[in-house]
Symmetry: C2
């Protein structure tokens, strides 16, 4: 762990603490770093913005992409005060940073009643065994969009 | 599959097709339904809005929560033109709708070069075995926010 890694994580932790003490949302903070500098921050804003996707990492990624004017975080590092939930870890993979650092574990999050571990377990199950009613319908019709995508000459892949 | 289910999915599919033909983004569309009516729509806007989290389901969930003025989709159904990626499935679990319907499978998405399957495989691996460099640091310091959350008397749980 380098001195810089420690400092960036301390900023993510500071954000997570102040988010609770200032009553803005869950105890989570994240920062995105590029070339040794913090370029974006995020805190959990689920209940204050009525957005269940507004976790610290998602907010930080969105902010970083705005700053960089791109949809990919090439060469960036993400420091988050807690191990990302499946939504946030998925978002991180789509954003494609170089490195990820986290502090609290998903077990720590479970211990204060967040669903992270439950959602990880659900994702690992076959669709039919999940607690969320899930059903596949109309696949044949839906393939049209994928065929059009494959044939498109103007698409921007990601 | 009820007649309504079919109609709602056809709207999600229509959105997925027009998103490609109009050059707005990837071949994905989603709708959120409550009490038999579509209350929100979403299409993939990753490359047009520089937001790697702007998948159809995430956009539809955010829109539905704005319409309902809440951070939970109680009693709602989500119809998405493709099996959700881990990010979107995580977002769906956090939003807590009653039911989920999808059309194309994640294998169909892989066949047109999207990372859905790869990300599912990564999430299932122990952290140390993932392709994304990931490291836990400063857990002890980070626990402060979780302790403060547990002790908070003003928090809004979700």
């Amino acid at each position: 762990m380098g001195k810089d890694d420690s400092e960036f994580m301390q900023e993510a932790i500071r954000l997570s603490v102040s988010n609770v003490t200032e009553g803005r949302g869950g105890p989570f903070g994240a920062v995105v770093v590029k070339d040794g500098k913090i370029i974006a921050r995020g805190v959990n804003q689920v209940t204050t913005t009525n957005d269940p996707t507004a976790h610290a990492e998602v907010v930080a990624i969105r902010n970083a992409c705005m700053v960089l004017n791109t949809f990919q975080l090439d060469g960036c590092e993400i420091y988050t005060s807690c191990e990302p939930c499946p939504m946030c870890l998925g978002a991180i993979y789509w954003a494609r940073p170089a490195k990820l650092f986290y502090a609290n574990s998903k077990e720590d999050a479970t211990a204060i009643d967040f669903d992270d571990q439950f959602i990880y377990e659900e994702l690992a199950k076959p669709v039919a065994e999940r607690k969320l009613f899930t059903r596949q319908i109309l696949r044949e019709e839906a393939l049209e969009a994928f065929t059009k995508w494959r044939e498109s000459t103007v698409k921007i892949s990601y």
